[in-house]
């Protein structure tokens, strides 16, 4: 329960900064992806610029978290799926100006049409998993595990 409440609090801060940057507005994302405004890129870059060295430092100190044991940063080696999945994702991002973060934050603002890409994302997850489970020998549960860490 302590973990859940902590995560809830961090979610409020993240959701606030995210929405206050205008990321839950189609016009902002569209102008970002049309290279008309730099603000959203600066938000993302400065977030990484703060988090990367801090996490690096905590990792070197073998930081023990109060709620989840010793801190272990998750990393993935580049694979084909990062590029292929990335292309599919990028196309969806371009046409809708939405990503999994913009959808709930748009809904929270009262954007009724955001329900449509929300249903689409769920359909996309089922579509992907259905294809993987029917075409490869891979254990579908293994895919879930990879995802659950990201």
């Amino acid at each position: 329960m302590r973990t859940n409440l902590t995560v809830l609090g961090i979610g409020v801060v993240f959701g606030f900064a995210f929405s206050a940057s205008g990321f839950n507005q189609y016009n902002v994302i569209h102008r970002m992806l049309s290279l008309q405004i730099a603000g959203p890129y600066l938000v993302m870059a400065s977030a990484v610029l703060i988090a990367m060295p801090t996490l690096w430092y905590l990792e070197r100190r073998h930081w023990v978290t109060p709620l989840g044991g010793e801190m272990r940063l998750r990393r993935w080696s580049p694979e084909r799926k990062h590029v292929l999945g990335g292309i599919v994702f990028g196309l969806g991002w371009a046409v809708t100006g939405a990503c999994p973060g913009t959808i709930p934050t748009a809904l929270a603002g009262g954007c009724l049409l955001a329900i449509v890409p929300a249903i689409g994302v769920l359909a996309g997850i089922f579509l992907h998993d259905g294809i993987v489970e029917h075409t490869s020998q891979r254990d579908p549960a293994a895919g879930s595990e990879v995802w659950s860490e990201a």
């Binding site: 902590t6 959701g15 900064a17 993302m44 993935w76 196309l91 969806g92 939405a98 603002g109 996309g124």
Partner: protein
């Protein structure tokens, strides 16, 4: 109408707040911040797979933070409004357009393992090279597709 908060919040405030959220998630609970994981929870709930409860709480927080911004600053997309896209496309074209886009987002994020937050912000911060490849691909594809759509549609989409 009076608004207590002017948007957008300057990037040098919003960005560090998001960066500190990423740090706090790892430092407090050893968790990799990402939003698409919450969508997977709904999918997994529907097919009776084991759930990670904390992701629902995190999503609840995101909704709360976004609602707070709406309260303080208003929100231009309330109601049946999707910015310039809903001005340029009739509803019967917009809805399938948004649905197909959503499918691409869901399938692509699932395939790539994470989305703009999980790979783009958190993955880059953990120095995950796969995440850096993923976010670079997201960006290049989305910018190229947006510019191409813009050109083909005469700026409509």
């Amino acid at each position: 109408m009076f608004h207590a908060l002017a948007l957008p919040l300057p990037w040098f405030i919003a960005g560090p707040l998001m960066g500190l959220s990423v740090v706090a998630m790892y430092a407090a609970g050893n968790k990799h911040l990402g939003i698409c994981g919450s969508f997977v929870q709904f999918a997994d709930a529907a097919r009776s797979r084991p759930l990670e409860t904390w992701r629902f709480w995190f999503l609840g927080g995101i909704l709360g933070g976004a609602a707070l911004v709406t309260l303080l600053a208003g929100y231009p997309q309330a109601g049946i409004n999707y910015g310039t896209l809903s001005r340029n496309l009739p509803l019967n074209a917009l809805i399938p357009f948004l649905f197909v886009g959503g499918v691409l987002i869901g399938a692509g994020a699932r395939w790539a393992g994470a989305c703009t937050s999980g790979h783009g912000i958190t993955g880059c911060s953990t120095r995950s090279t796969g995440s850096m490849v993923a976010i670079a691909t997201f960006m290049v594809t989305a910018v190229a597709a947006t510019l191409a759509l813009n050109a083909v549609s005469g700026g409509a989409v």
